[in-house]
Symmetry: C2
Subunit: 417 residues, 2 copies
């Protein structure tokens, strides 16, 4: 079973929104061992949507269409599917009533356009809505099928799990199982990692093992090492993965030391959270060039209130002097970073203080080139240390690399202590 | 000239990374009036990459391929293009030497794999690298062309502007001009907006004006209203757009009041920045449920240091009591929000204090349902106000809507004052 994903919307082609639905669907299909060999995006144009659907049906067994089911005049997915099915559209009175009720219960006036969302290609069945107004559709085309869901991620994901996945699995019967595991690293490059595990590549190629190893530089998420195994059963795939993980971890650690911060695709924040919880410690932040980025990543971790006290975004130098008791003078220096870390720890009453100051660019500051960053770390025993980083890239990249580098310093300190 | 974008990488299909390159390319092609009707993504598999290229060449005039030019074993774009061109690959000694020099100058050891990046399909020409190691390729296929660039956004964008765009424009000769303009709104729904401008839709449909109006809900970016005009000249397209903007702004303002925060696709932060600069005022933040999100958005605005003092991420309640002088007691309340705003203004020595506290979910807090949010605003004249919001969606959505809603309160206060 090969499933192709088609994202509909001129806003995708014009780059006014990034297509995150296709990535989400691809990930969730893979979890179930369902191949997705192609994704397409197409604009709000009837003929081209029809062509995209026909292209997808020619090279895949099923198509998941996201978007174009909304209540506005440029939502034309329903009509395009009807053409590919060679049938008409009929208005479904039960859906129409449900949409009316939903608007009624929210006390919102209903647009006449919303009734269009009750149109259904003849022969299609419905995936009921639980979060919005447009229902999803299951549309048979010969032995193949087109599934249509709204482009709103929140509605799409729920409908996929409730309506599409069970239908797909029923169609598949038996299939080979694909499992993957992701190691996360911080401290080497993609090509450096590839070199370190080269022996594994050669082994898999020579022996047709069903295992692959791939690398992916992911900004603030670190560099990912993805191990994938395809086998007849889940147990077999998991066994292949477990064996491969041991080999790859050993190869990377031998080459570069303690650079693997997770062996199960956990991000740096979650890794830090586990370590802090384990040791019963709390963290406080002082952020300058990252401007709240580290704090906002930390509060995304469920249960962050157990170990995260808060942060001070000391963007103006005076805030560093007043609130964090940084001595007046240069603010891009190891001394300033250490003073900020002590200040964060004291002001926020945390066990650990982490601070970051530096030059995001594009212009130099205090004679330092963009990418020059100082991280300060105040530990529970009163010791304070700092690290100097020279990071590549533009302003957003410098911020991202700064954030993960600063947290990695905490990780290494907690692992050592 | 229709250009199709093909993103190469199994990590895209597996959802381990979102494809932001295609969106970026689509946007920049549109700026030059170049149509892009389809995007595809395909995995690191030779046959399927070849099929994707052939599909793209059949329905478009040019193809831009992103990714698969790296130094690892799963980078096979070069070989797939050679197959579609029906030629072999040769190693280019000049590129090989350049890669060697680049590694030498950075004092990094060169992987043997990096030499693969010097392989070029016979008949292709080169787009030299300035930021990484893999050069881009311009590969003629009959009257059509495949451009290949690395998947690293930073390298891709620079190569597009220097190498691809001039070649495309040279091929095009004359073309119709597409121009678009985006209004941004906060305070109505997509279907509400569609209803408000329905008369415009009917007008364009009836008169074949070359103008389209579309809507796009974009989370923290607000709901966008995109006006697009296609005409023979830039002047004509701009005139159509200007005329349309007047009509659409009038229709929306009549229906919903002051909900358009930008008429030129400026985000809420930039809008606030302009207003603060105009009035010579500074802003300080106290963030609870948004955890630094607002601060990190504000510092993304160039020159933020002129009007942004900093923020306090008061995640733990004690930080609210200690640092912001919030009276001990409930922290999800209008009183707490107002106290936080006063505290931020005083502690950070800013002219305006903006504070946000509430329940991101999934669990209720202090008896309030998820999505209950209080925004506090302390103005330069000493007045303090608050607003109560009830926002839909999961945790990240509540945070995003909170952030834009809080900033919109500042915008309206500055516009009134």
């Amino acid at each position: 079973m090969r499933v192709e994903i088609v994202a509909v919307g001129t806003e995708l082609l014009l780059g006014q929104i990034a297509d995150t639905n296709s990535a989400w669907l691809g990930e969730h299909l893979a979890e179930w061992g369902i191949d997705s060999h192609f994704h397409q995006a197409v604009g709000d144009n009837h003929e081209r949507i029809v062509l995209a659907f026909r292209t997808a049906l020619a090279r895949s067994d099923a198509v998941i269409v996201c978007g174009g089911l909304g209540p506005t005049q440029d939502d034309i997915t329903r009509a395009a599917i009807a053409e590919v099915m060679n049938v008409g559209l009929v208005r479904d009175p039960a859906i129409e009533r449900k949409i009316e009720e939903m608007f009624g219960s929210r006390g919102r006036p209903m647009s006449e356009n919303n009734r269009l969302q009750a149109d259904v290609p003849v022969g299609a069945s419905i995936i009921e809505q639980t979060r919005g107004t447009a229902p999803g559709l299951i549309c048979p085309v010969g032995q193949k099928v087109i599934y249509a869901v709204p482009g709103v991620p929140y509605e799409m994901s729920e409908m996929f799990e409730r309506g599409i996945l069970p239908d797909l699995l029923a169609r598949i019967g038996e299939t080979s199982v694909i499992r993957s595991r992701v190691l996360r690293t911080w401290g080497s490059s993609e090509s450096g990692l590839a070199e370190a595990v080269n022996e594994r590549f050669l082994h898999h190629e020579a022996n047709n093992t069903g295992v692959t190893v791939a690398f992916l530089a992911s900004g603030i998420e670190g560099i990912k090492v993805r191990l994938t195994a395809k086998a007849a059963s889940e147990a077999e795939a998991e066994a292949l993965l477990a064996e491969e993980a041991v080999e790859v971890v050993a190869a990377i650690t031998t080459a570069y030391g303690d650079i693997i911060f997770s062996d199960h695709d956990q991000n740096m924040e979650e890794t830090i959270a586990e370590l802090l919880l384990q040791k019963g410690l709390t963290l406080g932040l002082a952020e300058s060039l990252t401007g709240g980025l580290i704090a906002s990543r930390l509060v995304d971790v469920p249960g962050a209130s157990q170990w995260f006290r808060g942060g001070i975004v000391s963007y103006a130098s005076e805030v560093k002097f007043d609130l964090l008791a940084v001595p007046e003078g240069p603010v891009v220096s190891p001394e300033a970073a250490e003073a900020m870390a002590r200040g964060a720890k004291r002001t926020l009453k945390s066990d650990i203080g982490l601070a970051i100051t530096g030059v995001a660019g594009p212009d130099p500051q205090e004679g330092h080139a963009p990418g020059t960053v100082f991280v300060g770390l105040a530990m529970p025993d009163g010791s304070v240390r700092s690290a100097e980083l020279h990071l590549p890239g533009d302003r957003p990249r410098v911020r991202q690399y700064s954030a993960i580098s600063a947290l990695d310093l905490v990780r290494r300190a907690l692992n050592d202590g």
